[in-house]
């Protein structure tokens, strides 16, 4: 009997330390956003492994939102009320993240968004919502700054998909070019998944812009560039903001992707601690190059899990620790700060890159550059 009591006592004492940290993940694992969602899934899986090695016992509850905000929301309700998770990492898209953010605040569950770009998400003063990646305005400003430092563009055309991500990125870009004295000559949004952009691109071509600024997810990016070549759209530079222009698939289409300038949250040649190693291990494990989403998700899960453990699985303490903490890892220095109207936003350094000979090369800022930028865009062959 005494032995049993002893065992029971021991378990009671040890449980809080051994107890698995229950953390929710909301991600687009199926549906049209799944190709990028997969990077997030893999990043988190790698984080789970590394955390185990460090002795952080993790129990992940996976939820698939199929890229739809309403499913994302019900996933959040389930995680918050039924699963009683300490915190949530995800979701992927801006639309889903924005919908879930308000619920996180309602249920007081710390939410760490790894890679959604819409600014508004962390601009609503929500105390429980944290974001790892730089928001949309950074995409726009770093790309336009890069173009302005490379040449003397006077006009710009915008073409973007009519989703949260597309419209918010291009809106901030339009505000930004106004301060730089660059004139907007075309401003076109399109519903994603269209098969034919030729007429739109021909219209843009007739305005002869110096810069063409595009915001698209994976497949549309390839289609847009292919059809730009078809209609002979020839600006000084193609600027691709985010998602679709920073994938391996896009770089592989060398005939149309070479010399396109894009910006990213992360590359594996940047000298942030562990970035190279993360890239190599990711490639060995999943047989693919990681995108920035993978690194964002990895870093987010590490931070969320370690903070949750240090706070003994308490939501309030976890939130406070996320707010006051400071980390340095694969994403460089991370701190969730309040600035420029943002709340709990990591002021992340964006990297400007160009596809040169089928490879992404960092061209700006100078301290991270691997190659010199090619400007203006060479004539189509």
């Amino acid at each position: 009997m005494r032995k049993h009591l002893l065992a029971l006592g021991a378990t009671l004492v040890l449980t809080p330390c051994l107890m698995a940290q229950k953390i929710g993940v909301i991600n687009s694992m199926s549906g049209p956003e799944a190709p990028i969602g997969e990077n997030i899934t893999n990043g988190i899986k790698l984080a789970e492994e590394d955390l185990k090695k460090k002795g952080v016992n993790l129990q992940l509850v996976w939820e698939d939102d199929t890229g739809k905000p309403q499913i994302s929301m019900s996933a959040m309700e389930k995680l918050a009320t039924r699963e009683n998770v300490v915190g949530v990492v995800g979701p992927y898209t801006s639309a889903c993240s924005n919908a879930v953010a308000k619920l996180a605040e309602k249920y007081k569950v710390p939410l760490l968004i790894p890679a959604a770009a819409k600014e508004e998400i962390t601009r609503q003063g929500l105390a429980h919502v944290f974001r790892m990646n730089a928001p949309a305005d950074k995409y726009a400003s770093s790309l336009i700054d890069a173009a302005a430092s490379l040449g003397k563009p006077k006009t710009i055309a915008f073409i973007y998909e009519n989703t949260d991500f597309g419209t918010s990125t291009s809106k901030t870009a339009k505000d930004y070019v106004a301060t730089k004295g660059i004139q907007v000559v075309a401003d076109v949004s399109y519903p994603k998944g269209s098969a034919d952009y030729r007429s739109t691109l021909a219209q843009i071509k007739s305005k002869n812009p110096d810069l063409v600024f595009m915001v698209s997810y994976v497949a549309d990016a390839i289609l847009l560039m292919r059809q730009s070549r078809e209609v002979g759209l020839q600006p000084q530079a193609f600027l691709g903001a985010g998602a679709g222009f920073t994938t391996v698939e896009f770089a592989k289409e060398r005939a149309i992707s070479d010399n396109v300038i894009s910006c990213t949250q992360w590359t594996d040649d940047v000298n942030w601690p562990g970035a190279k190693d993360f890239g190599a291990r990711y490639k060995a494990k999943f047989g693919k190059e990681p995108t920035y989403h993978a690194a964002c998700a990895y870093a987010s899960m590490i931070i969320m899990a370690e903070t949750a453990k240090a706070s003994g699985g308490d939501r309030t303490k976890t939130r406070a620790a996320l707010k006051s903490g400071k980390w340095n890892g694969v994403m460089g220095e991370v701190k969730f700060a309040d600035y420029d109207g943002f709340t709990n936003q990591n002021n992340h350094q964006m990297l400007v890159q160009q596809i040169i000979a089928g490879k992404y090369e960092t061209v700006l800022p100078a301290q991270f550059a691997t190659k010199k930028a090619i400007y203006p865009f060479p004539k189509w062959k």
Binding site: A34, S194, D196, S199, R226, V231
Partner: protein, 289 residues
């Protein structure tokens, strides 16, 4: 002017492929009165088939139509014989549920096999163009696929108008019971019609794969489009579907330029509603009362 011509030409070329998708759906509806909500997914299967033939055997997507067409015909015939045939007399909503279910099974099976990654079929001519002059250029792959579409449509017209089987299909579409009384094997006609419809959808998939991208959920975009084209043209009318397809292609292309890309679907659906308001049976449809 160049912009106008450019968008008119791309509209017509894209419209040709839309027509092919619409004809398949309208054929199936005409003969069986079943709305095939798996139509887009059948198209997606055609795309993956083309992709596999291209990557494994190295056969050009346009040439592979010769393989895709008969294979998709068999696939369609199989679907009709094993599944659709059982619900021909069932309530419309049950038929719809069945086809939606079949579509889901197809897209999810493909996702299990190929993962959800976007596949891009890159041929040497994927972004090649022919300059027409006046700043207007025509996409080579789109032009080829339009020509193939036109040839297939012409062959289909000939088949439906001139051959015995074709006439039997049309008879079944006009009045199933009367056709049966006249000694037509309506069950076989149904299998042929569904096979043809699937083959047309699969071919459309093959034709757009060099210029579009391939992923398991790509079907839903086209199911909706096919549905609009079919209803616009008149349910069951092959001529109507051809017309509807080209009309929608041009409308999309024109409204993208002169109104806004973001609003082009709205324009298409407004046009669709207007046609339904003033001619509820569709452009070429005869009302069935």
């Amino acid at each position: 002017m160049a912009v106008f011509l450019q968008s008119l030409i791309s509209g017509i070329l894209i419209g040709g492929v839309y027509a092919l998708i619409g004809i398949g759906l309208t054929l199936i509806f005409g003969v069986m009165r079943v709305i095939n909500f798996a139509h887009g997914d059948i198209l997606m299967v055609g795309m993956y088939l083309t992709y596999m033939i291209f990557t494994l055997l190295g056969i050009d997507p346009f040439v592979s139509v010769l393989i895709t067409f008969p294979l998709m015909f068999l696939f369609g015939g199989f679907l009709q014989k094993v599944f659709i045939n059982r619900v021909l007399d069932a309530l419309a909503q049950n038929q719809i549920l069945l086809t939606i279910g079949l579509g889901l099974i197809m897209s999810n099976t493909v996702m299990l096999i190929f993962t959800s990654d976007y596949k891009i079929l890159s041929t040497s001519y994927s972004s090649a163009t022919i300059k027409v002059g006046g700043g207007v250029s025509v996409s080579t792959p789109l032009l080829i696929s339009f020509l193939i579409t036109a040839a297939i449509t012409a062959a289909l017209y000939w088949f439906l108008l001139k051959t015995d089987t074709g006439q039997a299909i049309r008879a079944t579409a006009q009045d199933r019971d009367a056709a049966q009384l006249m000694g037509i094997n309506v069950k076989r006609m149904s299998i042929i019609a569904f096979g043809l419809g699937s083959a047309l959808a699969g071919t459309a998939g093959a034709l757009i794969s060099p210029t579009y991208y391939i992923f398991p959920q790509v079907g839903s975009v086209f199911t909706l489009k096919a549905f609009v084209i079919t209803v616009l043209g008149g349910m069951g009318s092959v001529v109507g579907a051809t017309l509807g397809g080209v009309l929608i292609g041009i409308t999309e292309s024109m409204s993208a330029v002169y109104i806004s890309s973001g609003w082009k679907d709205v324009v298409v659906f407004v046009l669709f509603l207007l046609v339904l308001l003033f001619k509820p049976s569709g452009l070429m449809g005869k009302s069935r009362t």
